[in-house]
Symmetry: C2
Subunit: 151 residues, 2 copies
């Protein structure tokens, strides 16, 4: 073959770059968790993180928050409930909905995952100083808003 590894992105679009960064973050975070003895996929990490940081919410709110299909969310909740990490309770104001909340075991799991999350994010931003980190966040938010405004 011509070359050996992945030295690409000399003139890749930001679309490609964003995809590569996203993929690398997912892989590294899953590797960190596995190394810590945590058997969870990236999606499940996102769900637990959301619940830990934002508190109980309905399944559909959770699905929108992590950009997951409603059906897929049902199955993820099945798994996480099966592992004892969260509970499905009836929603007080809406009898259609559920109140998804972390169990103590789920809280403890989040405590274990926190260092993995921070480790990956710190590594990702290692080559950026605080000003640059803030700029990157700002640019990403502006790109996201621009895309969502696209019609």
């Amino acid at each position: 073959m011509t070359s050996s590894h992945t030295p690409s992105y000399p003139q890749d679009s930001i679309g490609v770059l964003v995809g590569l960064v996203r993929g690398e973050i997912v892989r590294k975070l899953e590797a960190e968790m596995q190394a810590a003895g945590i058997e969870l996929r990236f999606t499940q990490f996102l769900i637990l993180k959301r619940l830990a940081l934002m508190g109980p919410m309905s399944a559909s709110e959770l699905a929108r928050a992590v950009e997951l299909d409603g059906g897929a969310m049902t199955r993820q909740l099945d798994q996480l409930e099966g592992k004892g990490l969260l509970r499905r309770l009836p929603h007080e104001q809406d009898r259609r909905a559920l109140r998804i909340e972390l169990t103590p075991a789920g809280d403890a799991m989040w405590q274990q995952m926190t260092p993995c999350n921070e480790h990956v994010l710190d590594a990702a931003q290692k080559a950026l100083n605080p000003t640059e980190r803030e700029q990157l966040r700002d640019y990403l938010v502006r790109v996201l808003d621009a895309l969502r405004d696209m019609n």
Copy 2:
């Protein structure tokens, strides 16, 4: 429920932001293509783009370029070959490998897709001036390198 849409990311990590941007790019590009009468998924777009810009290459080179599993690549090539967009030819130097190349129909398809691609990328960067676009690219490359160096 509490709020209505997707006004999130006030304090989301760059990991979450990158994921949101990536998802939005995929959705918008697929919508653009569909509106142009092109029945292709994002992955197939990436494969054709790669072949159009970099010329013929082996299936495994292609798989590495678009970060796709080898088995998945085989099936994508089946589909794209079935649509007459590319050909599998024997590789001159390596009898294990294939030489994947676009057909004239594949070239024509790329010509049709180009405006979709540019439209989405322009929209994404609409709120960034040229200097900021260059900075964003630079930051993303540095983040990607930092993640890959992580051990």
